[in-house]
Subunit: 225 residues, 2 copies
DNA sequence: AAATTAATTTAGGTATGACTAAAATCACTT
DNA sequence: AAGTGATTTTAGTCATACCTAAATTAATTT
């Protein structure tokens, strides 16, 4: 078994790789809330353990075995998030924080029990895919809501779980995964987006729209007004 | 918040105090699986934090605030044990080990949710009392099954959760909390005990009988054969 | 090409919580 | 009262994972 710190580093690397592609020391430092120098020394250690490869000043990349562990941690995290939401009614803006602690103490046996109790789910409350036990993970093809044009419609695939405030904000508009949305208008200069969720109309700030991902996008793209 | 180590020390002290009365360095060392010297230095630290009092070579005693924290940890532990058994079907011989890890990462909010989901329970799967949030704990008046005489009967109050093998062993006889038992005969020289659980008859080893506690003991005590 | 700025690494240090070995104290026996 | 053995404490180390400050390397501007 690896330490909690190591698990956190591997997970962070996996997530940065997914979101930004390149994984720099600074990005890790910021994501983990530790000093860059601390990241460097941990990278050295993880490299010695063959969990990642590292070229000086060039960023890191998970090895097979590093990725395997990262995916196990991610699986724990997302299964727990869903379990807390479903079984204990924890609001979707709080499950992330709780799962951050639980993910490191979940035994394989309990993982299986939660998985079964939830009916072998494939998505967490924010729409992120839950890796299977063997490490298979199915990413949906989606674009940020911010990139949609008036007239287009689609289905919410995923909402970033980084900031609870964002989750509460978009939750108030009913922007949960699997919800159908239609873009009515987009203000220029990265302005707010007006959209329809069911029968209701909402205006969404441009920054928030960066963190809501839409799949199955269709419809004639109109002009930004 | 306190470290996991500190929480474990306080809980261990509480439990040894409950079982043996006096809490020695050695007893703690054995219970926690650390060297006696490590216990001494941790005792010094806890004493500085006013969580316990210590007289050199004389053992320790929890202060009010130390006891309060210990009871919070115990509450977490026992609530989790019951939750795992009830909600996820974890067998009673495994819940202890899982709870040892979970107890340190349970938020107050989740504690409340579990407590409510379980209907504000007062006993864990082994029959140990679950302290209330304010630290009230109701201990049952019980004696070891090993101290019972033939002809006496009573109700299982609690089974020690220290050893999973013990739990599986007595579980096979149906000796769960709230089960009614009657002592049929007791062999001399700390010999095995024959008892009736429902309609079934079982023979229980003397050592195991030390760890099964019976309440509500009645009936004419006969002789040990 | 040199200078500036940003990112990364190195060097040295700290707190936590464990360890071993040796010394001190206590409890008991004779 | 002294000696023996068990218990406890002291002294000194170690690994983990963090930190700050300074040095190095890379990227960008002038």
């Amino acid at each position: 078994m690896y330490t909690e710190s190591i698990e956190n580093y591997l997970k962070a690397i996996y997530e940065i790789q997914r979101e930004k592609g390149k994984v720099s020391t600074n990005a890790l430092s910021e994501k983990l809330g530790v000093a860059p120098a601390s990241v460097t020394s941990m990278i050295k250690k993880l490299s010695e353990k063959k969990l990642l490869t590292h070229k000086r000043y060039q960023g890191v990349k998970l090895t097979q075995s590093g990725q395997k562990i990262a995916l196990e941690v991610v699986r724990h995290h997302r299964l727990i998030e869903l379990y807390l939401a479903e079984a204990l009614g924890v609001p979707w803006d709080q499950v992330h924080e709780e799962a951050e602690k639980w993910e490191h103490v979940l035994s394989e046996d309990l993982e299986d029990r939660m998985d079964a109790a939830l009916g072998h789910p494939t998505r967490d409350p924010h729409g992120s895919p839950i890796p299977s036990r063997d490490g298979t993970i199915i990413e949906l093809d989606s674009i940020p809501l911010a990139d949609m044009r008036p007239g287009q419609h689609g289905v919410v695939a995923e909402v970033s779980d980084r900031d609870p405030n964002l989750l509460r904000y978009v939750g108030k508009m009913g922007l949960y995964p699997k919800t159908r949305v239609k873009v009515v208008s987009v203000e220029p200069f990265s302005g707010p987006i007006t959209l329809k969720v069911g029968d209701a109309s909402h205006v969404l700030g441009a920054e928030a729209a960066q963190y809501v991902f839409i799949t199955d996008v269709k419809g004639n793209p109109g002009e930004v007004i």
